[in-house]
């Protein structure tokens, strides 16, 4: 059932956990935090049965550093957490990016800033995409919008992490984590990645290997950072992914990520029924971001409305991609109740009425 094409009704958090097992995740390290705790609970029951590693870490800081240690040996490993606790992991993510280690981190977002609360939000776009750690580095960020995508993108996260030796964040949210939907696990569709050229397995029959980010040689460090960014150009070329609906004849393109995608799709239909030519655009990889495609659409004169549960974090990337070629408005509520289809429709109408001179912020 959990590895067949049969449909099952399953909660997002459990779906991610089981998909990690299917993807060959050998070790899980985690610390409880709502709304993602079911991932750790599920794996605490399953991993010992499979003879795989499981540690109730003493903190999120410890958890992510356990992942760093585990993946350095070439096995697949992950941790999961939520917003404020992901903030604690940023140092290790910076290290892992520089060390080129395939860390997989699931962030089931909740509201911030600070402790915030457990209601849903999308306030970790910046924290995920721009990196909360020190220095110049890039993380691959995948944003699912359905429970099925939680499964599919978990498979993809493990694959991309090893393929490019780069940390990957699966950026879900409380809504997805807690929601039950029919989904099917199938088999992990990605090929195995050969890690034998770099993994630490003991220096048997080869020279010893050291994985570190210390850069005492200034010239080498400069080159190292250029190399990291060149690698990410390749990732952007190969892996940038997005979905778009009815953009061909659209005057305005509703843009959202993660589970907000669900409501812009519905809003698009209502707007179309009202005679407004609306389309939808939804980045799947928030990093690398689909700048190129948004820029192409903007060049065709299509305006945008970014709909998100934060103060306009993805908005600035869309604006950057549009680069003045068309107009863009923001429709948002920072935290709490998901923007409804009605609210989105009303806001789109207002924005169009005022020629994009305003943003619509709901309380």
């Amino acid at each position: 059932m959990t590895d067949s094409n049969e449909k099952v009704l399953i909660k997002g958090n459990y779906a991610i956990a089981q998909a990690a097992i299917n993807a060959g995740c050998q070790c899980y390290f985690g610390y409880p935090i709502t709304p993602q705790t079911e991932i750790g609970e599920y794996l605490s029951a399953q991993m010992p049965k499979l003879g795989r590693g499981y540690v109730c870490a003493e903190s999120e800081i410890a958890a992510i550093n356990m992942v760093v240690g585990a993946v350095s040996t070439g096995v697949r490993a992950m941790t999961s957490s939520s917003s404020l606790a992901v903030a604690l992991m940023q140092e290790a993510l910076s290290y892992a990016a520089s060390d080129e280690l395939p860390v997989v981190l699931v962030n089931v977002m909740r509201a911030g800033p600070g402790l915030g609360y457990i209601y849903p939000a999308q306030g970790d776009y910046n924290q995920s995409v721009t990196g909360g750690g020190n220095g110049d580095y890039k993380i691959i960020v995948l944003a699912p919008s359905t429970v099925q995508e939680c499964i599919d993108y978990t498979y993809r996260a493990f694959y991309l992490a090893q393929k490019y030796r780069n940390p990957v964040i699966l950026l879900a949210d409380g809504l997805l984590g807690q929601m039950m939907e029919p989904a099917c696990f199938g088999k992990d569709p990605y090929p195995e990645v050969d890690v034998s050229s770099w993994a630490l397995t003991g220096a048997k029959g080869r020279e010893s290997r050291a994985i570190y980010s210390l850069g005492t040689d200034e010239k080498k460090q400069v080159q190292h950072i250029y190399n990291l960014f060149k690698k990410f150009e390749v990732i952007a070329e190969n892996e940038t992914s997005y979905e778009e609906f009815e953009t061909e004849d659209a005057d305005i393109i509703l843009t959202a990520f993660g589970s907000m995608t669900r409501n812009i799709k519905a809003a698009m239909k209502v707007l179309r029924n009202k005679g407004i030519k609306a389309g939808c655009f939804r980045p799947i990889t928030l990093s690398p971001f689909p700048y190129k495609r948004i820029s192409e659409l903007a060049a065709k004169g299509k305006d945008f409305a970014v709909v998100e549960m934060n103060m306009g974090q993805m908005f600035k990337d869309v604006k950057y991609a549009i680069d003045g070629k068309s107009r863009v408005g923001l429709i948002n509520r920072p935290v709490g109740e998901w923007l409804s289809v009605e609210e989105i429709v009303e806001a789109v109408e207002k924005i169009m009425e005022k020629s994009y001179a305003t943003s619509i912020q709901y309380s």
Partner: protein, 251 residues
């Protein structure tokens, strides 16, 4: 002719020596390397390295190494061991790394009884940054951040690491040793061997705290520094074995 001295196989050849003259790190690393050779561990060893003067460890040890952020060596070592239980996994850390910023990771690794070995250099100061007050700075000690000496009002008290680690149920071996004399160096090697062996036997966490000199930051000659280890440090940090499950009776 009999060769009486050689560089251990587990040490890299032609490395750049980064420690100050008279520092005990060199002796401690050599002991670790000798044991890796003697216990035949070089090709199955994975070291989780640390931040501080010990940061250059992978320049010296010819084994696989993964760098952990400051204080996280035991967490990273836990990850390595859980991923590869058949490997020999160890950390080499300073007192600031192990017992200040990383105390939670260190103690919980001991409490979980992770089968890893940890070596902690105690020189009563933060060496790499130029001699600041650390978790092991002794009462009255002058450092660059305790210019009037450590007092309880501003700084509180130092931690006795080996005793604390011995209190953890998952600890198989915990000892404190020094490197100020040849007999003490020999004892240190025996303690390190024990801390390595308990891992190999699957008994739990193996730990050795090594009292070490820091002539540069103590503003002393190497000889004076070793006298300080004996006269000022040992009364506060007594040498000894604080836990050894292989000799405990009735367990």
């Amino acid at each position: 002719m009999q060769q009486v001295f050689s560089i251990p196989k587990s040490m890299k050849k032609g490395f750049r020596y980064t420690f100050c003259p008279g520092c005990d790190h060199g002796v401690a690393i050599r002991l670790v390397a000798e044991l890796l050779d003697e216990l035949n561990l070089q090709d199955k060893a994975i070291c989780s390295t640390s931040i501080g003067c010990s940061v250059f460890l992978y320049d010296f040890l010819d084994v696989d190494c993964v760098e952990a952020p400051h204080g996280r060596a035991c967490a990273s070592a836990t990850g390595v061991k859980r991923a590869r239980p058949d490997k020999f996994v160890f950390t080499y850390q300073g007192d600031g790394d192990f017992a200040s910023i990383g105390l939670a990771e260190s103690m919980h690794t001991a409490l979980r009884g992770e089968c890893v070995s940890a070596v902690c250099i105690n020189n009563t100061t933060y060496g790499m940054t130029g001699g600041q007050l650390g978790p092991t700075t002794i009462m009255g000690q002058v450092t660059t951040t305790s210019p009037y000496g450590r007092n309880k009002e501003y700084y509180g008290y130092p931690i006795r690491i080996a005793e604390q680690i011995a209190l953890c149920d998952g600890t198989a071996y915990s000892a404190r040793v020094a490197l100020d004399t040849i007999p003490h160096i020999n004892q240190a090697k025996q303690a390190l061997k024990k801390a390595f062996e308990v891992q190999l036997q699957g008994l739990g966490f193996g730990f050795v705290e090594i009292l070490s000199s820091c002539p540069t930051n103590w503003h002393m000659t190497p000889q004076e520094a070793h006298i300080r280890v004996k006269e000022e440090m040992m009364p506060v940090f007594p040498l000894g074995v604080y836990k050894d499950v292989t000799t405990e009776k009735g367990e």
